[in-house]
Symmetry: C2
Subunit: 239 residues, 2 copies
Amino acid sequence: MKRRLLLVSNSTLHGSGYLDHCEHNISHFFGKDVKRVLFVPYALHNRDAYTKTARDKFKTLGYEVDSIHKAADPVDAVRKAEAIFIGGGNTFRLLKSLYDNKVVTEIRRRVLEVRPLSAHLPAPNVATISINTTNDMPIVYPPSFSAIGLVPFNINPHYLDPDPNSRHMGETREQRITQYHEEPDTPCVLGLREGSMLLVEGNKATLLGTTKARLFTRGKSSVEYDPGSDLSVLLTDAQ
Amino acid sequence: MKRRLLLVSNSTLHGSGYLDHCEHNISHFFGKDVKRVLFVPYALHNRDAYTKTARDKFKTLGYEVDSIHKAADPVDAVRKAEAIFIGGGNTFRLLKSLYDNKVVTEIRRRVLEVRPLSAHLPAPNVATISINTTNDMPIVYPPSFSAIGLVPFNINPHYLDPDPNSRHMGETREQRITQYHEEPDTPCVLGLREGSMLLVEGNKATLLGTTKARLFTRGKSSVEYDPGSDLSVLLTDAQ
Ligand SMILES: [Ca+2]
Ligand SMILES: [Ca+2]
Protein backbone atom coordinates (compact mmCIF):
# COMPACT_ATOMS: atom_id res chain seq x y z
CA MET A 1 0.00 0.00 0.00
CA LYS A 2 1.51 3.31 -1.12
CA ARG A 3 -0.52 5.79 0.92
CA ARG A 4 1.25 8.97 2.02
CA LEU A 5 -0.49 11.10 4.61
CA LEU A 6 0.52 13.87 6.96
CA LEU A 7 -2.08 14.14 9.73
CA VAL A 8 -1.64 17.42 11.60
CA SER A 9 -3.23 18.34 14.95
CA ASN A 10 -3.69 22.02 14.14
CA SER A 11 -3.12 24.59 11.37
CA THR A 12 -1.81 27.40 13.56
CA LEU A 13 0.31 27.36 16.71
CA HIS A 14 -0.02 30.12 19.31
CA GLY A 15 2.09 33.12 18.33
CA SER A 16 2.81 32.08 14.73
CA GLY A 17 1.05 32.38 11.37
CA TYR A 18 -1.07 29.95 9.36
CA LEU A 19 0.84 26.66 8.84
CA ASP A 20 4.13 28.25 9.99
CA HIS A 21 4.86 25.52 12.54
CA CYS A 22 4.64 22.74 9.95
CA GLU A 23 5.83 24.49 6.77
CA HIS A 24 9.09 22.55 6.57
CA ASN A 25 7.06 19.35 7.01
CA ILE A 26 4.80 20.41 4.15
CA SER A 27 7.74 21.13 1.80
CA HIS A 28 9.42 17.89 2.74
CA PHE A 29 6.17 15.97 2.39
CA PHE A 30 5.11 17.25 -1.03
CA GLY A 31 8.70 17.51 -2.27
CA LYS A 32 9.88 18.83 -5.63
CA ASP A 33 7.76 16.68 -7.95
CA VAL A 34 4.45 18.18 -6.89
CA LYS A 35 3.62 21.48 -8.62
CA ARG A 36 -0.09 21.95 -7.91
CA VAL A 37 -2.05 21.08 -4.78
CA LEU A 38 -5.82 20.57 -4.72
CA PHE A 39 -7.20 22.50 -1.74
CA VAL A 40 -10.44 21.51 0.02
CA PRO A 41 -11.85 24.60 1.83
CA TYR A 42 -15.16 22.97 2.88
CA ALA A 43 -14.53 23.26 6.65
CA LEU A 44 -14.98 27.05 6.71
CA HIS A 45 -17.95 29.12 5.58
CA ASN A 46 -16.06 31.60 3.40
CA ARG A 47 -14.41 29.27 0.89
CA ASP A 48 -12.97 32.05 -1.29
CA ALA A 49 -11.23 33.73 1.63
CA TYR A 50 -9.95 30.39 2.93
CA THR A 51 -8.57 29.51 -0.50
CA LYS A 52 -6.75 32.84 -0.68
CA THR A 53 -5.11 32.19 2.71
CA ALA A 54 -3.98 28.74 1.62
CA ARG A 55 -2.88 29.91 -1.82
CA ASP A 56 -0.76 32.74 -0.37
CA LYS A 57 0.93 30.38 2.06
CA PHE A 58 1.56 27.61 -0.48
CA LYS A 59 2.97 30.14 -2.96
CA THR A 60 5.75 30.94 -0.47
CA LEU A 61 6.55 27.22 -0.41
CA GLY A 62 6.59 26.96 -4.22
CA TYR A 63 3.23 25.29 -4.89
CA GLU A 64 0.21 26.43 -6.90
CA VAL A 65 -3.22 25.90 -5.35
CA ASP A 66 -6.46 24.93 -7.11
CA SER A 67 -9.57 24.89 -4.95
CA ILE A 68 -12.06 22.06 -5.28
CA HIS A 69 -14.97 24.46 -4.75
CA LYS A 70 -14.16 26.12 -8.09
CA ALA A 71 -13.98 22.83 -10.02
CA ALA A 72 -16.87 22.06 -12.37
CA ASP A 73 -16.63 18.39 -11.34
CA PRO A 74 -15.16 17.85 -7.85
CA VAL A 75 -14.80 14.07 -8.33
CA ASP A 76 -12.83 14.64 -11.52
CA ALA A 77 -10.68 17.23 -9.74
CA VAL A 78 -9.72 14.59 -7.14
CA ARG A 79 -9.12 12.03 -9.88
CA LYS A 80 -6.65 14.37 -11.63
CA ALA A 81 -4.96 15.91 -8.57
CA GLU A 82 -1.23 15.57 -7.95
CA ALA A 83 -1.64 16.18 -4.22
CA ILE A 84 -4.45 17.18 -1.88
CA PHE A 85 -4.63 19.47 1.14
CA ILE A 86 -7.79 19.39 3.26
CA GLY A 87 -8.04 22.51 5.42
CA GLY A 88 -9.22 22.43 9.04
CA GLY A 89 -12.22 24.21 10.52
CA ASN A 90 -15.52 22.61 11.50
CA THR A 91 -15.32 18.84 11.01
CA PHE A 92 -19.10 18.34 10.68
CA ARG A 93 -19.35 20.96 7.95
CA LEU A 94 -16.30 19.48 6.20
CA LEU A 95 -17.53 15.89 6.27
CA LYS A 96 -21.04 16.87 5.18
CA SER A 97 -19.61 18.80 2.20
CA LEU A 98 -17.32 15.90 1.26
CA TYR A 99 -20.42 13.67 1.15
CA ASP A 100 -22.57 16.33 -0.59
CA ASN A 101 -19.91 16.61 -3.29
CA LYS A 102 -19.54 12.81 -3.50
CA VAL A 103 -15.74 12.90 -3.11
CA VAL A 104 -15.33 10.65 -0.03
CA THR A 105 -14.95 7.47 -2.08
CA GLU A 106 -12.73 9.07 -4.72
CA ILE A 107 -10.31 10.49 -2.14
CA ARG A 108 -10.09 7.09 -0.46
CA ARG A 109 -9.50 5.39 -3.82
CA ARG A 110 -6.83 7.90 -4.89
CA VAL A 111 -4.93 7.72 -1.59
CA LEU A 112 -5.13 3.96 -1.05
CA GLU A 113 -5.15 2.52 -4.56
CA VAL A 114 -4.06 3.77 -7.93
CA ARG A 115 -1.56 6.54 -8.63
CA PRO A 116 -1.17 7.45 -4.97
CA LEU A 117 -2.08 10.93 -3.92
CA SER A 118 -0.17 12.62 -1.12
CA ALA A 119 -2.71 13.96 1.32
CA HIS A 120 -1.97 16.62 3.88
CA LEU A 121 -4.64 16.95 6.53
CA PRO A 122 -4.77 19.56 9.24
CA ALA A 123 -8.34 18.22 9.47
CA PRO A 124 -7.22 14.80 10.65
CA ASN A 125 -10.60 13.48 11.81
CA VAL A 126 -11.91 13.14 8.26
CA ALA A 127 -8.94 10.90 7.34
CA THR A 128 -9.71 8.36 10.07
CA ILE A 129 -12.43 5.74 10.56
CA SER A 130 -14.95 8.26 11.86
CA ILE A 131 -15.39 11.76 13.26
CA ASN A 132 -16.61 10.35 16.60
CA THR A 133 -13.67 11.95 18.45
CA THR A 134 -13.68 15.47 17.00
CA ASN A 135 -13.85 18.43 19.41
CA ASP A 136 -15.97 20.48 17.04
CA MET A 137 -19.52 21.69 17.53
CA PRO A 138 -22.08 19.67 15.51
CA ILE A 139 -23.38 22.69 13.59
CA VAL A 140 -24.65 20.62 10.64
CA TYR A 141 -25.83 16.98 10.34
CA PRO A 142 -23.68 14.85 8.03
CA PRO A 143 -25.25 11.72 6.46
CA SER A 144 -22.87 9.58 8.56
CA PHE A 145 -20.05 9.96 11.08
CA SER A 146 -17.99 7.50 8.99
CA ALA A 147 -15.05 9.38 7.50
CA ILE A 148 -12.70 8.75 4.56
CA GLY A 149 -11.05 5.83 6.35
CA LEU A 150 -7.45 6.27 5.20
CA VAL A 151 -6.20 4.80 8.49
CA PRO A 152 -7.89 2.24 10.82
CA PHE A 153 -8.00 4.31 14.02
CA ASN A 154 -9.38 7.64 15.26
CA ILE A 155 -7.69 10.89 16.25
CA ASN A 156 -8.44 13.53 18.86
CA PRO A 157 -6.72 16.70 17.60
CA HIS A 158 -5.81 19.66 19.84
CA TYR A 159 -5.49 17.05 22.62
CA LEU A 160 -5.49 18.76 26.03
CA ASP A 161 -4.32 17.41 29.37
CA PRO A 162 -6.69 17.92 32.32
CA ASP A 163 -6.04 21.29 34.01
CA PRO A 164 -5.70 20.64 37.76
CA ASN A 165 -6.57 24.28 38.51
CA SER A 166 -9.77 24.35 36.48
CA ARG A 167 -13.08 24.93 38.23
CA HIS A 168 -14.97 24.17 35.01
CA MET A 169 -17.14 21.06 35.26
CA GLY A 170 -17.35 20.13 31.56
CA GLU A 171 -15.83 16.70 30.89
CA THR A 172 -12.05 16.57 30.40
CA ARG A 173 -10.78 15.32 27.06
CA GLU A 174 -9.73 12.05 28.69
CA GLN A 175 -13.24 11.55 30.11
CA ARG A 176 -14.76 12.16 26.68
CA ILE A 177 -12.50 9.60 25.00
CA THR A 178 -13.25 7.14 27.83
CA GLN A 179 -16.98 7.64 27.13
CA TYR A 180 -16.31 6.86 23.47
CA HIS A 181 -14.56 3.63 24.49
CA GLU A 182 -17.59 2.60 26.58
CA GLU A 183 -19.27 1.97 23.23
CA PRO A 184 -18.65 -1.50 21.73
CA ASP A 185 -16.00 -2.18 19.05
CA THR A 186 -14.50 1.30 19.13
CA PRO A 187 -10.99 1.70 17.70
CA CYS A 188 -7.88 3.29 19.23
CA VAL A 189 -7.83 7.07 19.59
CA LEU A 190 -4.57 8.96 19.11
CA GLY A 191 -4.60 12.20 21.13
CA LEU A 192 -2.48 14.61 19.05
CA ARG A 193 -1.47 17.65 21.09
CA GLU A 194 -1.03 20.98 19.32
CA GLY A 195 2.35 20.96 17.55
CA SER A 196 2.18 17.24 16.81
CA MET A 197 1.59 15.37 13.55
CA LEU A 198 1.61 11.82 12.23
CA LEU A 199 3.39 10.89 9.00
CA VAL A 200 1.98 7.78 7.33
CA GLU A 201 3.95 6.18 4.48
CA GLY A 202 2.62 2.84 3.35
CA ASN A 203 2.43 0.72 6.50
CA LYS A 204 4.78 2.92 8.51
CA ALA A 205 3.58 5.67 10.86
CA THR A 206 5.90 8.12 12.62
CA LEU A 207 5.08 10.78 15.19
CA LEU A 208 6.53 14.16 14.15
CA GLY A 209 6.47 17.62 15.66
CA THR A 210 7.37 19.03 19.04
CA THR A 211 4.92 17.46 21.50
CA LYS A 212 4.14 13.99 22.80
CA ALA A 213 1.00 12.11 21.76
CA ARG A 214 -1.26 9.98 23.96
CA LEU A 215 -2.74 6.74 22.67
CA PHE A 216 -6.05 5.50 24.11
CA THR A 217 -7.03 1.87 23.54
CA ARG A 218 -10.40 0.47 24.61
CA GLY A 219 -10.06 -1.51 27.86
CA LYS A 220 -6.39 -0.61 28.39
CA SER A 221 -4.38 2.16 30.05
CA SER A 222 -3.37 5.04 27.81
CA VAL A 223 0.27 5.34 26.68
CA GLU A 224 2.44 8.41 25.93
CA TYR A 225 4.70 8.53 22.84
CA ASP A 226 7.58 10.94 22.23
CA PRO A 227 8.15 12.76 18.92
CA GLY A 228 10.02 10.39 16.60
CA SER A 229 8.18 7.30 17.87
CA ASP A 230 7.24 4.56 15.42
CA LEU A 231 3.47 4.14 15.59
CA SER A 232 3.13 1.63 12.75
CA VAL A 233 1.22 -0.68 15.08
CA LEU A 234 -1.72 1.71 14.63
CA LEU A 235 -1.95 0.74 10.98
CA THR A 236 -2.63 -2.95 11.58
CA ASP A 237 -6.34 -3.58 11.58
CA ALA A 238 -6.12 -5.87 14.59
CA GLN A 239 -5.56 -3.22 17.28
CA MET B 1 -49.53 26.46 26.90
CA LYS B 2 -48.87 24.98 30.32
CA ARG B 3 -45.28 23.76 29.91
CA ARG B 4 -43.06 23.85 32.97
CA LEU B 5 -39.35 23.33 32.41
CA LEU B 6 -36.19 23.96 34.38
CA LEU B 7 -33.23 23.98 31.97
CA VAL B 8 -29.99 23.72 33.93
CA SER B 9 -26.47 24.37 32.59
CA ASN B 10 -24.78 21.68 34.68
CA SER B 11 -25.51 18.99 37.31
CA THR B 12 -22.52 19.67 39.55
CA LEU B 13 -20.74 22.89 40.46
CA HIS B 14 -17.04 22.87 41.35
CA GLY B 15 -16.57 21.98 45.03
CA SER B 16 -20.11 20.73 45.69
CA GLY B 17 -22.00 17.46 45.24
CA TYR B 18 -24.38 16.21 42.56
CA LEU B 19 -27.25 18.71 42.08
CA ASP B 20 -26.34 20.55 45.33
CA HIS B 21 -26.22 23.94 43.64
CA CYS B 22 -29.77 23.65 42.33
CA GLU B 23 -31.46 21.50 45.00
CA HIS B 24 -33.64 24.30 46.30
CA ASN B 25 -34.66 25.03 42.70
CA ILE B 26 -35.60 21.37 42.25
CA SER B 27 -37.73 21.29 45.42
CA HIS B 28 -39.41 24.54 44.50
CA PHE B 29 -39.93 23.38 40.92
CA PHE B 30 -41.47 19.97 41.62
CA GLY B 31 -43.22 21.20 44.80
CA LYS B 32 -45.30 19.17 47.20
CA ASP B 33 -47.76 17.58 44.77
CA VAL B 34 -45.16 15.48 42.94
CA LYS B 35 -44.29 12.24 44.74
CA ARG B 36 -42.47 10.22 42.07
CA VAL B 37 -40.08 11.45 39.37
CA LEU B 38 -39.32 9.51 36.18
CA PHE B 39 -35.54 9.54 35.70
CA VAL B 40 -33.93 9.24 32.26
CA PRO B 41 -30.32 7.92 32.69
CA TYR B 42 -29.61 7.43 28.98
CA ALA B 43 -26.75 9.99 28.82
CA LEU B 44 -24.34 7.81 30.80
CA HIS B 45 -23.17 4.26 30.07
CA ASN B 46 -23.86 2.77 33.51
CA ARG B 47 -27.56 3.41 33.86
CA ASP B 48 -27.97 1.48 37.12
CA ALA B 49 -25.22 3.46 38.86
CA TYR B 50 -26.57 6.74 37.50
CA THR B 51 -30.07 5.89 38.73
CA LYS B 52 -28.72 5.14 42.20
CA THR B 53 -26.97 8.54 42.30
CA ALA B 54 -30.16 10.32 41.26
CA ARG B 55 -32.38 8.23 43.56
CA ASP B 56 -30.16 8.92 46.60
CA LYS B 57 -30.19 12.65 45.91
CA PHE B 58 -33.93 12.88 45.23
CA LYS B 59 -34.70 10.88 48.39
CA THR B 60 -33.08 13.65 50.46
CA LEU B 61 -35.47 16.08 48.77
CA GLY B 62 -38.52 13.88 49.44
CA TYR B 63 -39.09 12.34 45.99
CA GLU B 64 -39.12 8.72 44.84
CA VAL B 65 -37.33 7.93 41.57
CA ASP B 66 -38.37 5.41 38.90
CA SER B 67 -35.91 4.92 36.06
CA ILE B 68 -37.17 4.71 32.49
CA HIS B 69 -34.55 2.06 31.67
CA LYS B 70 -36.30 -0.38 34.02
CA ALA B 71 -39.75 0.25 32.54
CA ALA B 72 -41.22 -2.53 30.39
CA ASP B 73 -42.68 0.13 28.08
CA PRO B 74 -40.76 3.45 28.11
CA VAL B 75 -43.48 5.32 26.17
CA ASP B 76 -46.09 4.19 28.68
CA ALA B 77 -43.78 5.25 31.52
CA VAL B 78 -43.64 8.79 30.07
CA ARG B 79 -47.40 8.76 29.54
CA LYS B 80 -48.02 7.93 33.21
CA ALA B 81 -45.23 10.03 34.80
CA GLU B 82 -45.99 12.82 37.29
CA ALA B 83 -42.69 14.55 36.55
CA ILE B 84 -39.56 13.83 34.54
CA PHE B 85 -35.87 14.39 35.18
CA ILE B 86 -33.45 13.89 32.28
CA GLY B 87 -29.89 13.48 33.54
CA GLY B 88 -26.87 15.06 31.84
CA GLY B 89 -23.89 13.28 30.31
CA ASN B 90 -23.21 12.74 26.64
CA THR B 91 -25.87 14.51 24.56
CA PHE B 92 -25.39 12.30 21.48
CA ARG B 93 -25.84 9.11 23.48
CA LEU B 94 -28.86 10.62 25.23
CA LEU B 95 -30.61 11.78 22.08
CA LYS B 96 -29.92 8.50 20.26
CA SER B 97 -31.40 6.53 23.17
CA LEU B 98 -34.46 8.80 23.31
CA TYR B 99 -35.03 8.03 19.61
CA ASP B 100 -34.18 4.31 20.00
CA ASN B 101 -36.79 4.07 22.76
CA LYS B 102 -39.30 6.13 20.76
CA VAL B 103 -39.98 8.57 23.60
CA VAL B 104 -39.10 11.88 21.88
CA THR B 105 -42.65 12.48 20.64
CA GLU B 106 -44.29 11.33 23.86
CA ILE B 107 -42.15 13.62 26.04
CA ARG B 108 -42.97 16.54 23.75
CA ARG B 109 -46.67 15.70 23.87
CA ARG B 110 -46.71 15.31 27.67
CA VAL B 111 -44.83 18.57 28.29
CA LEU B 112 -46.61 20.73 25.71
CA GLU B 113 -50.11 19.31 25.56
CA VAL B 114 -52.23 17.20 27.88
CA ARG B 115 -51.79 16.82 31.62
CA PRO B 116 -48.58 18.84 31.70
CA LEU B 117 -45.46 17.17 32.94
CA SER B 118 -42.86 19.18 34.80
CA ALA B 119 -39.52 18.49 33.19
CA HIS B 120 -36.20 19.16 34.86
CA LEU B 121 -33.28 19.02 32.48
CA PRO B 122 -29.63 19.28 33.38
CA ALA B 123 -29.30 18.00 29.78
CA PRO B 124 -30.75 21.17 28.28
CA ASN B 125 -29.74 20.56 24.65
CA VAL B 126 -32.28 17.76 24.22
CA ALA B 127 -35.10 20.10 25.28
CA THR B 128 -34.35 22.64 22.56
CA ILE B 129 -34.79 22.66 18.78
CA SER B 130 -31.62 20.68 18.13
CA ILE B 131 -28.37 19.49 19.67
CA ASN B 132 -26.35 21.56 17.17
CA THR B 133 -24.80 23.62 19.99
CA THR B 134 -23.79 20.91 22.45
CA ASN B 135 -20.15 20.77 23.64
CA ASP B 136 -20.14 17.00 23.79
CA MET B 137 -18.09 14.57 21.74
CA PRO B 138 -20.13 12.84 18.99
CA ILE B 139 -19.45 9.32 20.31
CA VAL B 140 -22.58 7.82 18.68
CA TYR B 141 -24.62 8.81 15.62
CA PRO B 142 -28.22 9.76 16.41
CA PRO B 143 -30.85 9.47 13.64
CA SER B 144 -31.18 13.27 13.67
CA PHE B 145 -29.81 16.32 15.50
CA SER B 146 -33.42 17.52 15.99
CA ALA B 147 -34.24 17.36 19.68
CA ILE B 148 -37.47 17.26 21.71
CA GLY B 149 -38.30 20.85 20.77
CA LEU B 150 -39.87 22.05 24.01
CA VAL B 151 -38.59 25.58 23.34
CA PRO B 152 -37.91 27.35 20.00
CA PHE B 153 -34.23 28.19 20.51
CA ASN B 154 -30.94 26.40 21.26
CA ILE B 155 -28.71 26.36 24.33
CA ASN B 156 -24.96 26.17 24.82
CA PRO B 157 -24.48 24.77 28.35
CA HIS B 158 -21.27 25.17 30.41
CA TYR B 159 -20.80 28.42 28.44
CA LEU B 160 -17.22 29.66 28.77
CA ASP B 161 -15.81 33.11 28.13
CA PRO B 162 -12.64 33.27 26.01
CA ASP B 163 -9.53 32.94 28.20
CA PRO B 164 -7.16 35.82 27.25
CA ASN B 165 -4.19 33.88 28.67
CA SER B 166 -4.82 30.68 26.74
CA ARG B 167 -2.27 29.51 24.19
CA HIS B 168 -4.65 26.78 23.01
CA MET B 169 -5.72 27.24 19.40
CA GLY B 170 -9.01 25.32 19.44
CA GLU B 171 -11.97 27.58 18.61
CA THR B 172 -13.45 29.59 21.51
CA ARG B 173 -17.05 28.92 22.41
CA GLU B 174 -18.05 32.23 20.84
CA GLN B 175 -16.31 31.28 17.56
CA ARG B 176 -18.13 27.95 17.51
CA ILE B 177 -21.54 29.57 18.01
CA THR B 178 -20.66 32.14 15.33
CA GLN B 179 -19.88 29.25 12.96
CA TYR B 180 -23.31 27.78 13.75
CA HIS B 181 -24.91 31.11 12.88
CA GLU B 182 -23.12 31.13 9.51
CA GLU B 183 -25.59 28.40 8.56
CA PRO B 184 -28.95 29.64 7.21
CA ASP B 185 -32.09 29.92 9.37
CA THR B 186 -30.38 29.04 12.63
CA PRO B 187 -32.18 30.02 15.86
CA CYS B 188 -30.94 32.01 18.87
CA VAL B 189 -28.42 30.31 21.15
CA LEU B 190 -28.55 30.98 24.88
CA GLY B 191 -25.07 30.54 26.43
CA LEU B 192 -25.79 29.26 29.96
CA ARG B 193 -22.72 29.56 32.18
CA GLU B 194 -22.21 27.00 34.93
CA GLY B 195 -24.46 27.93 37.85
CA SER B 196 -27.19 29.28 35.60
CA MET B 197 -30.61 27.88 34.70
CA LEU B 198 -33.72 28.90 32.82
CA LEU B 199 -37.21 28.44 34.29
CA VAL B 200 -39.93 28.18 31.64
CA GLU B 201 -43.55 28.41 32.75
CA GLY B 202 -46.05 28.61 29.91
CA ASN B 203 -44.87 31.57 27.82
CA LYS B 204 -42.68 33.08 30.52
CA ALA B 205 -38.95 32.40 30.81
CA THR B 206 -36.80 33.60 33.72
CA LEU B 207 -33.04 33.32 34.17
CA LEU B 208 -32.21 31.81 37.58
CA GLY B 209 -28.98 30.91 39.37
CA THR B 210 -25.84 32.83 40.19
CA THR B 211 -24.26 33.68 36.82
CA LYS B 212 -25.11 35.82 33.81
CA ALA B 213 -26.17 34.29 30.49
CA ARG B 214 -25.18 35.41 26.99
CA LEU B 215 -27.67 35.41 24.15
CA PHE B 216 -26.42 34.97 20.57
CA THR B 217 -28.73 35.91 17.71
CA ARG B 218 -27.85 35.29 14.07
CA GLY B 219 -26.63 38.51 12.43
CA LYS B 220 -26.72 40.57 15.66
CA SER B 221 -24.36 41.35 18.52
CA SER B 222 -24.62 39.08 21.54
CA VAL B 223 -26.29 40.38 24.73
CA GLU B 224 -25.61 39.61 28.42
CA TYR B 225 -28.48 39.00 30.87
CA ASP B 226 -28.30 39.09 34.67
CA PRO B 227 -29.87 36.44 36.92
CA GLY B 228 -33.53 37.32 37.38
CA SER B 229 -33.93 38.63 33.81
CA ASP B 230 -37.16 37.96 31.94
CA LEU B 231 -36.24 36.06 28.77
CA SER B 232 -39.80 35.39 27.57
CA VAL B 233 -38.87 36.90 24.21
CA LEU B 234 -37.00 33.63 23.53
CA LEU B 235 -40.29 31.74 23.54
CA THR B 236 -41.83 33.61 20.61
CA ASP B 237 -41.20 31.73 17.41
CA ALA B 238 -40.34 34.92 15.52
CA GLN B 239 -36.87 35.54 16.99
CA1 LIG C 1 -11.86 22.13 14.23
CA1 LIG D 1 -22.43 16.84 28.53
